[in-house]
């Protein structure tokens, strides 16, 4: 979502929160809590740890709000803090760098709805897709996760990861081509359905 697309209410909430209105900040948290939790889960894996990470990150964000540039989008600013806090925690716990995701079984997760592009995939193939994403080097895996699993735009991914948009684009292209090679069997199977 771009700055232009930011709802007026968000700008008002940010302004009020900057002036010390905790209720306004909690409303902001409510608006971005779901995506923040997903960012944390991508890094730390465990749901309960992700909850702790986001709580800690929100407190840090609240105290950093005075330095938030109002002409820039809020969501990636917040998500950057969440991701960095998650990396802090992962390092504290000496955990490995891997995508800590698990599948939800047959049910669709959260508020997700299948997009028109969604294809019919068996559970076994889905596990292969997850394993292939997990097998990508970190710099490729994170852009794939942010772009395709979290649905962030190229610009938001760049701002959250603190890298140029051009880098997001080139890494995404290279990651997709690696996935294509790793999943050629699954892709063919899908193509015949």
């Amino acid at each position: 979502m771009s700055v232009e697309g930011r709802p007026l209410i968000e700008q008002e909430l940010i302004q009020r929160a900057r002036n010390g209105d905790v209720a306004a900040f909690e409303e902001l948290v409510r608006m971005h809590q779901a995506i923040a939790l997903r960012v944390a889960v991508l890094v730390v894996g465990d749901h309960s740890d992700a909850e702790d990470v986001t709580q800690e990150a929100f407190v840090k964000a609240y105290h950093a709000l005075g330095r938030f540039r109002q002409d820039s989008p809020f969501r990636p600013w917040l998500l950057r803090i969440v991701r960095n806090e998650a990396l802090n925690q992962r390092r504290r716990h000496g955990r490995q760098d891997r995508l800590g995701l698990r599948l939800a079984g047959d049910r669709l997760s959260g508020d997700a709805a299948p997009s028109p592009e969604t294809v019919v995939v068996s559970g076994a193939d889905r596990e292969l897709v997850l394993a292939a994403v997990n097998g990508l080097p970190e710099r490729f895996r994170q852009v794939v996760a942010f772009r395709y699993l979290l649905g962030l735009s190229e610009a938001e991914t760049a701002a959250t990861l603190g890298i140029p948009a051009g880098t997001v684009k080139s890494r995404t292209a290279r990651a997709l081509s690696r996935l294509e090679a790793a999943l050629s069997g699954v892709i063919e199977e899908v193509g015949h359905e």
């Binding site: 900057r18 010390g20 905790v22 900040f25 909690e26 948290v29 809590q33 779901a34 939790l37 889960v41 909850e51 709580q55 929100f58 407190v59 840090k60 950093a64 005075g66 330095r67 950057r80 803090i81 969440v82 991701r83 960095n84 806090e85 990396l87 802090n88 390092r91 504290r92 698990r102 599948l103 079984g105 669709l108 997760s109 959260g110 299948p114 592009e117 969604t118 294809v119 995939v121 889905r126 897709v129 997850l130 994403v133 710099r139 794939v144 395709y148 699993l149 649905g151 603190g162 890298i163 140029p164 051009g166 880098t167 080139s170 997709l176 294509e180 999943l183 892709i187 899908v190 193509g191």
Partner: protein, 252 residues
């Protein structure tokens, strides 16, 4: 013609909706939010003095060619022509033992970590490579008071942290104060009051002494790959603004 990438994208779209994402719970009030937000620290009283001096020096520099021309005219010695050529200035940070001067591209090429620069003040005036450490220097100017006679307004050092967390920093300045702080979610330290050196103890108990170049303040923080150090005459809030605007440079 079919697009092979499209199939990968649709597999990823399928994966996205089948991941076991956590359900957000109702936000709970964290009592730490009740603590008021830190106000912008008052600038130290010597900063306006430094700024005024900088303006004066700048004015003198602007005026000096005319002044020298006037002197030449006054001399009026026939047959002698005085040429004014631009002075060959040392690069910003020269003499501070920052390493070998390189271009930004050379620095990115030489090290095995993502090299970052801040949105503001933008590209550094000089870049140095010292082993696998990248040092960047910016000249003092508007909003960036210079340190003493070095002319340097900001010094930024980056080096790979090898996953070894900085656990403890002891400031070796006589009156310096160390305050824990947060840089875009990363943990860091703010050392105010002209520390001369800082001592870092890593997780394994090893201790490294870091020499400081500017008689200013220091902001130090660690990302997942890189240890970062800013030396500046600015206050904490301004230093944090610079640190939080860091973006890594494009892939090689």
């Amino acid at each position: 013609m079919s697009e092979p990438g499209r199939s990968v994208e649709s597999l990823l779209a399928d994966l996205a909706v089948h991941i076991d994402w956590p359900e957000p719970s109702a936000p709970r009030f964290d009592p730490r939010l009740a603590r008021p937000q830190p106000e912008t620290p008052r600038r130290r009283s010597w900063i306006p003095v430094t700024a005024a001096l900088a303006i004066l020096v700048a004015l003198l520099l602007v005026l000096s060619p005319q002044a020298r021309k006037a002197v030449a005219d006054l001399l009026g010695v026939a047959g002698i022509e005085i040429d004014f050529v631009p002075e060959l200035e040392d690069p910003v940070g020269a003499g501070l033992d920052l390493g070998r001067q390189v271009s930004l591209e050379e620095a990115v090429e030489a090290v095995h970590f993502p090299v970052s620069i801040p949105d503001w003040p933008g590209d550094p005036d000089s870049v140095y490579l010292s082993g696998s450490r990248v040092n960047m220097a910016w000249a003092g100017g508007e909003g960036l008071p210079a340190s003493g006679d070095t002319g340097v307004g900001l010094l930024y050092s980056q080096f790979r942290s090898d996953g070894v967390a900085v656990r403890f920093i002891k400031s070796l300045g006589p009156e310096s104060v160390v305050t824990p702080t947060v840089v875009a979610g990363w943990n860091g330290f703010w050392i105010e009051g002209e520390p001369h050196a800082i001592s870092i103890e890593d997780r394994s108990g090893g201790r490294v002494e870091e020499t400081l170049r500017l008689a200013g303040n220091v902001l130090m923080w660690e990302t997942d790959e890189v240890t970062n150090r800013l030396e500046t005459m600015l206050g904490l809030n301004e230093a944090l603004r610079i640190a939080e605007s860091m973006r890594s440079l494009p892939d090689r």
